[in-house]
Amino acid sequence: MTWLGVTLGGAVGAIARYGLGQLIGHWAGAKATGLATLLVNLTGSFALGWLVGTIASSGVTAGSSVPIGTAGWGAWRVMVAVGLLGGFTTFSAASLEAAEKADRGRGWERLSGIGQALVMALASIGAAGLGLLVS
């Protein structure tokens, strides 16, 4: 049952990400692909941080105050966390966009691709931390 939920959640999450990308691309042009990826990863990270915080405070998992992994989460939470948010956010597109930026550059400009990846990481980690704090 959890498998079906994760698969369905992943399909819905991927469609939402693709739709947002099309919408932002239509509205802001082809240069906005990186913006769409940043937006889905920020909002998805915030949502998962919030979800992890609610689980930590409700005492579902014993031991660590903030759990890593989904042991003892229950089917609904796994469906949302791994399925919906996992399908909505994407690491591969973030890496690809940063690599394309590096590939277009010359010499030291290639490092700007790594810079873009680090900005994405820092912003998303901040969003997840914020979600955890407000939960």
Binding site: V6, G10, V82, A93, I114, A121
Partner: protein, 136 residues
């Protein structure tokens, strides 16, 4: 049609990610999040290969297929397989638990490794096809 391909790929990719999570179990914190690192680095290499291949060879042989193949395999399968939310939540959870060094190392390995592998994939698969026989 691309919408359906994204949905199909996204479902399958996310299911595959869940399968990896079942195989690689996290021991107690602070643990290095191997499962997420594995899907994200593998997915980054594969999307580089995909975009390199579709942008060069597929675009030359059947350009109409580039967009649907990228929707199914890129936005769908690999987008669903990889995850940013689990990555950032794990970094926060590690740092929150006091393992700040592990959190920083994991974040840097994922972000820099992802770009490097995607770039390697683009370069590997984006080269023009070699001639079948060496010219005499």
């Amino acid at each position: 049609m691309n919408w359906w391909l994204v949905a199909l790929g996204g479902g399958l990719g996310t299911g595959a990610h869940y399968a990896v999570n079942q195989v690689i179990i996290y021991p107690g914190a602070p643990a290095w999040p191997w499962a997420t690192l594995a899907v994200n680095l593998a997915g980054s290499l594969m999307i580089g290969l995909l975009y390199g291949w579709t942008g060069r060879r597929l675009a030359a042989s059947s350009p109409d297929l580039v967009a649907p193949v990228r929707a199914l395999a890129g936005a769908g399968l690999l987008g669903g397989f990889t995850t940013y939310s689990a990555f950032s939540a794990e970094v926060v959870a590690l740092a929150w638990g006091g393992a700040v060094g592990v959190a920083c190392g994991y974040a840097l390995t994922s972000a820099v490794g992802g770009v490097a592998l995607a770039w390697a994939g683009l370069r590997l698969a984006g080269q023009p096809p070699q001639p079948a026989t060496e010219p005499q």
